[in-house]
């Protein structure tokens, strides 16, 4: 299965990179941008056809390595290969 994992900063955690991106967008003339939060995207293929077991494994990967849950949230979707 394929997993598409999105890792974002928790609300309340300052995001200086997002702020810099918002400023740059303003400089480019995009006036309507009210806030930018940036994060990470991880795509991985996993040798597992059972969605329940795949979900469980991805969750553990996120908790142990892919996200730092002190500051980050994660969500993911699975797709049959």
């Amino acid at each position: 299965m394929k997993a598409r994992i999105t890792i974002t900063l928790k609300s309340g955690v300052l995001d200086p990179q997002g702020k810099a991106i918002a400023n740059a967008l303003g400089a480019l003339g995009f006036d309507g941008v009210e806030g930018v939060r940036q994060g990470k995207y991880v795509e991985l293929d996993i040798d597992e056809s059972d969605p329940g077991r795949a979900r469980d494994q991805i969750e553990r990967m996120c908790e142990q390595l892919l996200a730092n849950t002190v500051i980050e949230n994660y969500q993911f979707e699975l797709e049959a290969a």
């Binding site: 300052l14 200086p16 990179q17 142990q64 892919l66 730092n68 002190v70 500051i71």
Partner: protein
């Protein structure tokens, strides 16, 4: 004092800290490759500065799962002193030995310069050769040194006196102007609950010899020698 320095792929301050340790104790530390499964019998384990694994994913995230770290966590639990400098501090937060996380500097810029630090307490194995309130000069060199912890954790750190050093000015005043990276409460270093694990962003080994332009950093190593010998 028997010391070990863990070397990760991408560590670059391992030799500097080995020199500072040898200058303080007269004995060269064991250099331990990250792939080893066990740290040789030691009183002190040092995780040095650098860019382990190229800072991939998050600074310190990959190194925290190196084979050697299982034994470092175990030995820390047994009371062996652990010192994490810069990238070593990042690794310690990623393993959970220290609370919080080091985020990208608020300025988004890599900062490399001398800073002033206020010693928050002198009754620890790492700071006994300083006096509480001392202002010392130590260099920082990092992109990800912006200390963040949730409000409960910060309160707990403050209430239990676990802040080791804060960024300040010459007079010891701590303010937004003296904060080089956006760290909460100007925190430059923190202790674990036992007081035997310290992580700090500044590099004491870089100002531990008069030939380097200053000796303010040597106190960390002489303190450890005094406590662990």
């Amino acid at each position: 004092m028997k010391a070990a320095v863990v070397v990760f792929p991408g560590s670059n301050c391992d030799r500097d800290v080995a020199v500072a340790l040898e200058a303080a104790s007269g004995a060269a530390p064991n250099m331990v490759w990250h792939g080893a499964s066990e740290v040789p019998d030691s009183d002190l384990i040092v995780l040095p500065g650098g860019f382990s694994y190229g800072d991939y994913l998050r600074s310190g995230a990959m190194a925290a799962h190196s084979p050697i770290m299982r034994d470092v966590v175990k030995k820390a639990g047994d009371g062996v002193a652990v010192l994490g400098i810069c990238n070593g501090f990042q690794v310690l937060t990623e393993t959970g030995l220290l609370p919080g996380v080091l985020m990208r500097n608020a300025s988004l810029k890599f900062v490399c310069r001398d800073v002033r630090l206020r010693v928050e307490r002198d009754d620890t194995i790492f700071a006994a050769d300083y006096r509480t309130g001392d202002v010392i000069t130590i260099p920082i060199a990092h992109h990800d040194g912006n200390y963040f912890a949730d409000p409960e954790t910060l309160d707990e750190l403050e209430d239990s006196g676990r802040v080791a050093f804060r960024y300040c000015d010459q007079a010891g005043t701590v303010s937004a102007e003296t904060n080089p990276n956006g760290s909460q409460s100007n925190i430059a270093g923190v202790y674990d609950k036992s007081g035997r694990v310290l992580g700090l962003m500044p590099h004491p080994e870089r100002l531990a010899d008069a030939a380097l332009g200053g000796t303010d950093g040597a106190g960390v190593f002489t303190s450890l020698l005094g406590a662990l010998n």
